[in-house]
């Protein structure tokens, strides 16, 4: 069945930056389904801004690999969703085009950086959306908005066409209301892409199973320690208890490397970002560089005017971390720390099958609540380890605290996305019943 979808939703929550009012679709497993695409994923002929002024008006001449796959599966690209500028943020408040509001409580943030995609799904505007996750950017908004979000194993989904923030950490992943819809979307986008040298040959075609009898679940001390809101911790523990009812067993464990995971994450992602974002110079795309100025002056002006303060801060941090005299102290050390985090998780995952805990340490903040950068970074503590280790991680809604959704996070071994999805499915089906 082919056709054209009319997509003209009311969008009081500012989930979309661009809507494709007449979206074409083809035959295929996703035929006729409107899918929202985060605005850092290149869409041919459709403006792609990364929610930044520096890319305003940029229309890519090519589709990201996942977008080609979506189209080949018959989906209709409904529009491009709002995000924290270049993926840098935990609330979507860093968008140059205004924040997205949380559909559950419009005085609160939807999470970030894939806030627009999460809100679009949570409010029912679309059934499915693509997000990206560098340090929790799919899982955080999934948890804050009460939907399901998966960060696949690193390399399982092609990054070709994803406007890079932190190449060694990020993945494109599916966001939807149900685990079943997650798997539908994941099966379309997973698989090898020869144009992405870091992509693996691991397609996904798994029907989720709710049978988790005999599954061993690791419960890390660090995921329930100080810094995690007790109410949130309590709700997640109850969810884990549900899993035990279904036949799983829990094993307490510890991940000492967590103490430097966040520092390793921020040094790595800002370093890579400082390099990735240097290409925006107003010459080949974006708002024009001032031709009356000399090169360096013009370049500096384009960046000062085009990048928001958080982006500039991270570029500076990354430049510093890579600079002569500091590379060893910061970047090189961060890679060792990262290897330790990965080894730590693999050690635990050799004793247990999955690791469970809260996705976020709190419920969604109020808009404007977190103004201090460092305190904002600290809220990523539970999500960044999966990115550092490259392992799959899913967030599934598991309850309400103070009226706001809480997310249960399940992490697993490399390329065991199927198992991680099964655990989420088992929980989801159990509470539905």
């Amino acid at each position: 069945m082919t056709g054209t979808l009319t997509f003209e939703p009311d969008d009081p929550i500012n989930a979309f930056l661009t809507t494709c009012r007449k979206a074409e679709y083809n035959n295929g497993p996703l035929s006729g389904i409107p899918v929202a695409v985060k605005d850092n994923i290149s869409t041919k002929g459709i403006e792609t801004t990364c929610a930044s002024k520096i890319l305003k008006g940029y229309v890519p001449p090519y589709d990201a690999h996942v977008v080609s796959l979506l189209r080949a599966a018959g989906a209709a690209v409904a529009g491009k969703t709002n995000m924290d500028e270049f993926g840098m943020g935990t609330t979507t408040e860093n968008s140059a085009f205004g924040p997205t509001l949380n559909p559950r409580d419009t005085g609160r943030v939807p999470g970030g950086s894939s806030g627009g995609s999460a809100a679009a799904v949570a409010s029912g505007m679309v059934k499915m959306a693509l997000g990206t996750d560098t340090g929790g950017s799919i899982r955080c908004p999934a948890a804050f908005c009460g939907i399901v979000g998966l960060k696949p194993t690193y390399g399982r989904v092609s990054r070709y066409g994803l406007i890079a923030y932190a190449n060694s950490l990020e993945q494109i992943g599916p966001m939807a209301q149900s685990v079943t819809d997650i798997t539908k979307l994941f099966s379309v986008i997973a698989g090898h892409d020869p144009r992405d040298s870091t992509s693996c040959d691991r397609p996904f075609s798994h029907a989720p199973s709710a049978d988790i009898k005999g599954l061993k679940i690791g419960i890390p001390d660090e995921y329930f320690g100080k810094g995690v809101d007790p109410a949130v911790a309590g709700i997640v523990r109850k969810a884990i208890a549900k899993l035990e009812e279904l036949g799983a067993t829990t094993v307490p464990c510890t991940l000492p490397s967590m103490q430097y995971a966040l520092a390793a994450y921020y040094v790595t992602c800002t370093s890579e970002a400082s390099s990735n974002l240097a290409r925006f110079d107003g010459v080949r795309y974006g708002p024009a560089a001032d031709a009356k100025k000399s090169w360096h002056d013009a370049y500096r002006d384009v960046r000062r005017q085009g990048f928001g303060p958080e982006v500039r801060r991270r570029i500076m941090l990354g430049t510093f971390a890579l600079s002569s005299g500091y590379y060893g102290k910061y970047y090189a050390k961060a890679q060792v720390a990262r290897a330790n985090v990965r080894a730590d998780f693999l050690r635990v995952l050799s004793d247990v099958d999955v690791i469970a805990g809260p996705t976020m340490p709190t419920i969604a903040f109020k808009l404007g609540e977190k103004s201090d950068p460092l305190s904002m970074y600290l809220s990523d503590i539970l999500t960044v380890p999966a990115n550092l280790a490259g392992i799959p991680a899913i967030s599934v809604p598991c309850g309400i605290s103070e009226g706001m959704p809480v997310g249960l996070q399940i992490m697993g071994r490399h390329f065991e996305d199927e198992r991680v999805i099964d655990v989420a499915y088992a929980y989801e089906q159990a509470v539905k019943a």
Binding site: I41, S42, T48, C50, L55, Y58, P60, P61, Y62, A64, R159, Y160, G161, L162, I163, A164, N167, S168, P194, R195, D196, S197, T198, S271, E272, S274, S275, A278, R279, F280, D281, V283, R284, Y285, A291, K292, W295, H296, Y299, T319, L322, S323, S324, Y327, Y331
Partner: protein, 480 residues
Amino acid sequence: MSADQVIVGLEVHCQLDTKSKLFCGCSTDYRSDGPNTHVCEVCLGLPGSMPVLNKKAIEYAMRVAKALNCEVLTESEFSRKNYFYPDLDKAYQITQYDKPLAEKGILEIDGDDGEKKIRITRIHVEEDPGRLVHMGNAERGRYSLVDYNRAGIPLIEIVTEPDMRSPKEARKFLNKLRATLEYLGVFDSEKEGSLRVDANISIVGSERVEVKNITSYKGVEKALTFEVTRQKNLIRRGQKVERETRHFLEARGITQSARSKEQEHDYRYFPEPDLRPLRVKSWVADVVLPELPDARRERFISQYGCSANHARTLTGELRLANFFESVVAPDPAGLSVPAATWVADTLIGELNYRSMSIDTLEPPAFTGLLRLLMAGTITDKSAIEVLRIMLDQHLKGETAETPDAIVARLHLAKTSGDDGALRAAIKEALAENPKAVADYRAGKAGACNFILGQVMKKTRGRADPAELNRLLTEELQKGA
């Protein structure tokens, strides 16, 4: 080392002759096409694009590593070199930094004092940036124009130890390197801009100066000669040689200080996260090297009887060596000796004079010319005339005649056998120059040559000198 010893090290960048670019499938054959027509999202550095390594480039680099006797690293990787320039569209160049492809090699050259081994520090692969053209003037405003066709072309960078001791040795190294790369089939030196050199030069005891932007072989010797003079002058005046980067301005033959920000760059190198490491040490064993310049030179001496000098000249460029062998192939025994002289001593000069490449002439045409010479049909002078006519026809884009056709058209065939015309010319000359005849009879040695010259003029050099001499002597004695 003597007190004013010159010390030179080179960093040579050569474009590898692959069909597609280093990290994308764009064609590398961009030189005859308009700007920005050989560009894709990858080499344009559009957001979201990603590099994929061209295997051929690595294979080519491995050939170079083996030919230069380098050690290939067990694991090498690509790194980002970060700096901001409009021709660098990602604002970083993908290159190799602390884990290059290979290191610690040798290239033997004919140094100032005999054979010399120049040490190769390292070899690595990297991408070429785009091309910048500077436009405008003070009134209209200056700006730059960028063409990204060249962005992403694979480069091999070869870095030497500071082992050269003169601008001449630097040029010899470059010539040897160029020839070696051509013989390996990985480099085409005829392609404009395919080679770029940065040189480091110092006078012993003084600071080192980097000279960038040298794009020709001759330019290297010129730039370094200028630097040697400049630096020695400073030292002689008791002034300090500044440690700095200078640019070579080819048109003016001088180097100029590069006062720009680019001098103290912090490139913030880190491993390229979009590419995977290389483990290709085992590939070396499978590399079969073709015959290289030194071996070919030896073979030209033993197989064709070339002199050492001729052999060196003829094997100094791949195309030239191939041309020579094609020319002599129909009859090596008969053609080798004259071909060596005529190609090395005559043809090259005539080609250089016209700025033409060795590919201009078809070998059979040249063989034909040599055969006419060998058969005694034309004189040396006539042969040169025929050659020049053929080359000029090529230069003007006219259909080139065969040597036989030219000889026939211009009646260049030697007048031996039919000496009537020659005798007539001699008789004329004798009649026109009674004083010279008298001088000859008086025993003045130069007189005969003078008359000979007059006859040559009349016959426009077509007379065989030996034949002419014989007949002239006859005629002169007749009259005695």
